[in-house]
Each structure stands twice: as C-alpha cells, then as structure tokens.
C-alpha cells in the first residue's frame, strides 16, 4: 500500500485538501475557492492543478494510495453528489468518477459529517467508542452515525440526515431543504442568528445586539454579547441548546450511542450551549437511557478535521469500475 492519502473537503465556499500519512499527520495542505467556478470542469481543473502541485512539492508523486472526499449530500455507494445541495453546479454530480479520471487515483466520497465522524473515530474524541453520533453545528446541522464501529450509510448511501429531524411540527421555520421546522433551522449558526432576530423583534428589553444592524447579526455576535452578560443573547443559547438536547433525546432512542460528539463553530460556544443542552437531554431522556450517553466536544483541530476525516476514506477507495457506473443515474 502506498504511504499517503489525499483528503478533500468540499464546502460551499472553500475546498480544502491535504496529504495525510497512515498515522493521521497532515503532511501539507492547500485550498481553492469552490464558489468562484461557475462550471464544474473549471473547478475540477483548478483542484487537480493545485493538489498536484502540492503532491509534487512534497515528493508524493505516485505515493497516493487513494483520495477521500467529504462533500454535502454525497452518496458513498455510487460516488455522486445528489440533488438539493448548496453548490454552484447542476446535480447529480458523479464526483468520484470525475475526480478519479482527473487524478488517475481511486476515489471514495461521503458527506462531510460522515467524514468528520470517521476522522473523530480514527484520531479524535471517539477513539475506542464503537457507538456514537457526530453532530456538526456549522452553517447547517449535519450528522454522522456510527454503530458498532461502522458508519451508517443506509440502503442508498444517504443515511444520517439528523439535521432535518422536525423539531417544530407546526408553524416551524423554513429550512434550506424546502421543508419547515427542521433542527437545522434552529440549531445551526444561521439558526442562532435567526433566533436572535426573532427575540429582538418580539421582545422590548435592551440588548447589546441592538447596536448591530438586525440583518447583519451572526452567531458570533450573539456569542460575544452573551459572553458580555447580555440576557437576550444568553436566552438565545438557552433556546438553541434546549431544542438540540430535546432532539438528541430522540436520537438516543434509535441507536443508544455511548456518546454524542459535537463539532463545528457553534460547538465552541462551551457552557452557553452545553448547559441547556445537557439539561434538556436529561429531562427528555427515556428512563432506561438516563445518564448513559456522554456529550463530548470534537478533539480534532477544526482546520484539519474535515480533511483528516475525508482522507481516512482514501485508504479504502477502490478503482472506479463499470459496476459502479451501472448504479449511476442515466446519462452520467
């Protein structure tokens, strides 16, 4: 087996990639802008050029065993990015096939949250834990579910979309997925900003957040205000943590994980989020599960986590074959 893998994390704004060795050290990394390319071909050409430059500069030519990619709505089984995703190109995208052809190296893909779960299991807070649920709290809410040491892909490769559990059945917020009331519409970074705007409109008390143009408020502003003792901002985190804890009590019923691992910008809010979350989780937990699941924070550096997780898939990537092609939607 060759000594390195290439991990690629494709986000809506940036694409980050890195050369990783068998012990999980990131030898070198780079990035390109995802959003600047209106055409997928141009994007792939730049990705190939920049990654190849990195590989050559690190004397890794012909030493890459496989490429692992984390990308939104990715199907592990057929290697495509499916419909309904925040990328500038038409979907579905047969990404594993296209990247494999560009690089001449086997490629495996999965969604970013599954990649993070694999990274956490291999190098982070989930080492030695065989049953856990990874929850990524970023622009959206993603999840990667691990049962008995295996990532759950489901019958079609798309399992683990817990960010779209319905937490408000009636009169819920519109979610990016087109439905209403999803967990993601409340407990993502954008959800926190939305809650702050709602609270500012409904309530009349003073708040540090009133010094900011209401449409410009970010979750970081809410965090800063809360850390400065702002009551309304703290209430936003209470509201967010409570909804997330309630949802996690329901997740517990499914796979009875030994731990939840929180990852992403919002997870860094510390006790502001964790205190109401733990309280709601405990209060809503079915008796037989009470006190059993730990709530842990990711132990991977955020800069490396996505690339590390994606890269781990590179060790198991298989050459692209026609058997896989047969499972692709017609015409790809």
């Amino acid at each position: 087996m060759k000594p390195y893998v290439l991990g690629i994390d494709i986000g809506g704004t940036n694409t980050v990639f890195g050369i990783v060795d068998a012990r999980g050290a990131v030898i070198a990394s780079g990035s390109i802008k995802t959003a600047k390319h209106a055409h997928l071909d141009d994007y792939l050409t730049e990705l190939h050029a920049e990654a190849s430059r990195l590989i050559e500069a690190n004397d890794a030519t012909d030493k890459i065993n496989g490429i692992g990619i984390g990308a939104p709505n990715s199907n592990y089984f057929n290697g495509t990015i499916e419909d309904g995703v925040n990328l500038p190109w038409p979907t579905p995208i047969p990404l594993a096939k296209l990247v494999s052809e560009k690089f001449g190296i086997p490629v495996a893909i999965t969604n970013d949250a599954n990649a993070a779960a694999i990274g956490e299991m291999t190098y982070g807070a989930a080492r030695g834990i065989k049953d856990f649920i990874m929850i990524t709290l970023g622009t959206g809410v993603g999840s990667g579910i691990v049962i008995n040491g295996q990532v759950v892909y489901g019958h079609d490769g798309l399992a683990g979309e817990l960010g779209h559990m319905i937490v408000k059945r009636n009169n819920g917020r519109l979610c990016g997925c087109g439905r209403t009331g999803c967990l993601e519409a409340y407990c993502s970074a954008t959800g926190v900003a939305r809650t702050a705007r709602e609270f500012l409109e409904i309530r009349t008390e003073p708040s540090l957040l009133r010094n900011i143009e209401i449409d410009q408020i970010t979750s970081k502003d809410v965090y800063d205000a809360a850390m400065n003792g702002d009551k309304l901002a703290k209430d936003v985190f209470d509201y967010t943590g409570t909804i997330l804890g309630e949802a996690m009590a329901d997740m517990m019923l499914f796979s009875s994980p030994a731990a939840f691992i929180l990852f992403g910008g919002l997870a860094k809010s510390g006790e502001l989020l964790l205190k109401p979350l733990r309280e709601a989780l405990d209060k809503n937990m079915m008796t037989c599960f009470k006190g059993k699941a730990k709530v842990l924070l990711s132990e991977l550096k955020e800069a490396d986590a996505a690339v590390l997780g994606a890269s781990a898939l590179g060790w198991e990537a298989k050459p692209y074959v026609e058997a896989i092609a047969a499972t692709l939607p017609q015409g790809l």
Copy 2:
C-alpha cells in the same frame, strides 16, 4: 448443532413458546399465563414444566440447541429485563441466567420488536432486505431496526425504542414510560382508543361509537365503526396514520431503510391506516429520500411471528458465563 431451538415470547398477559426447526417450521407450541404468577419463581417453574412437557412429547429432549426469548425491555448484551416494564415482577430480572439454569440450555434474549424483526428477516417480508425498520403496533409501539443485515442493539443493548419518539412536544399525552407526547401514546391500539375518546368528547356529531360506554371503547370498536362508514372513526385512523407517517419520515433520516414493516393488531387495519400514513410519510419526507422506502405489512402469521423471531436467537445463544455476570447490575 442440535436440530431444534425453543422460542419464547413473553408478553404482559401471555407467554407463548414453540419448538422450531432450522427451516423455521414451528413443530409444536404452547402457552402459559404470564400475569397469574405474583412470584417470578412460580412463573419460571410453570414455564419450565410446560415447555419440558412439550419437548418430551415431541421427542426433542437433548435436541434443543438454544433458547431464544423475546421480552419487553430486554438487554441483549447482559440478558436482563431492565426497569420500567409492564410485568408483575420487580426489575431488573436476570432472565437469561435464570432460564438457562432452569433448562440447562444456552439462552439469548432481546426485546419483542427486535425478535419480530429477526423473524421477518429470516422467514417473512424482509427476506433479502438488509436495511429496514420493523414497527410493532400492539398495546404499545415497538421497533426493531436492522442496518446492513444486523439488528441495532446500541452500546447498552437497548437501542430501537422508536415508540418513544416525542411526536407532541407540548401538551402531549402521558405515556406508560412516564414522559408525555410519545408516539406510543398516539399510534398504539390503546392510543387509537384514546383518540376516539378525545374526539367523542370534543366533537358533537353522531357516531356509532356513542353506542358504546366511552371507557370501554377499544381500537377494534373504532375499526368496526370505520368499516361501517362512521366519519368520526375514520378520522381517528386518519389522525393515527398521519402521526405515524410523520414520525416515520423522521426515522428515515436516521438509517435510510429500504422498507418499513408494520406488524401487530393495528397493522391489520389496512388502508384505513395505510392511506393517511403513506400520504404523511411522502409529504414530510426530505426530498432525497422521497419514494425510496416501501411500507410493507408483516408476512408472518401473528400467532407464530413472536415465537419464530425469538427462536432465531436460539441458534446463536451462548452458555451463560461469568463474563456476562460481571456486566449485570450488582446483587443479581
């Protein structure tokens, strides 16, 4: 390997047992009353006596490979029935140990819904399906989750309690588990009867159900009235099917099963339940999963299903050992 297994299904009212061969034929079966024994010892003594009589009568002495038991709140890993269960004896109950000592045969246990899932996978509607969720609609709502051909037990052996997903976050009905708003409080046979009582109290229209003493109404009465064209009774099934379909759309996000399999008395309501269920499932499904999961009815005869499912565990039962004893709660 010996040619038979003994399957035992322990319900709150009856305990059913049967001798099953390797092809899944129930050679002979019997039953005793669970509820009539105030003391566990007396219950186990009668179970042993009756099952032994059946075994002798069928020339199966020394031909039983193992015993598989389906029982509520059972922990597959340590062989105990855990707290919070509708049985007449104090819990936890180290059932695998006790039954194994009585019979001198290895015993494995799991909850009744997991046992039904195993039965369905081995002999029923889930043959050849590797990812499915079994939902049992009886006095309560149980679930058995199969991912990649394996029953999901979770880190503690208690996974798959989807009957206790919260479907009404505010002002929900009290559930037998002590919490409020659980799926089981709405979509079980008792939930259907509760809904009928609520509708009869809130609404003023005539209904065939008004001919029955309100506290005596059962789900069977509601079914009969609906089949006779009673509008209120039909609305009860619409309400029930809608809530179940909405919950199933959330379950889909977790493991992306290829099928849901419905089992139990209420599943026999046919299109009365299935039509609103399918509509709600489709309406609430995240786009990427739409149209992917079949909704199937159990193909096992209800009389045999529980025993068949439980019996399948008998093939993998291991002798009770101290390593397992060490995992039991203290004092057992």
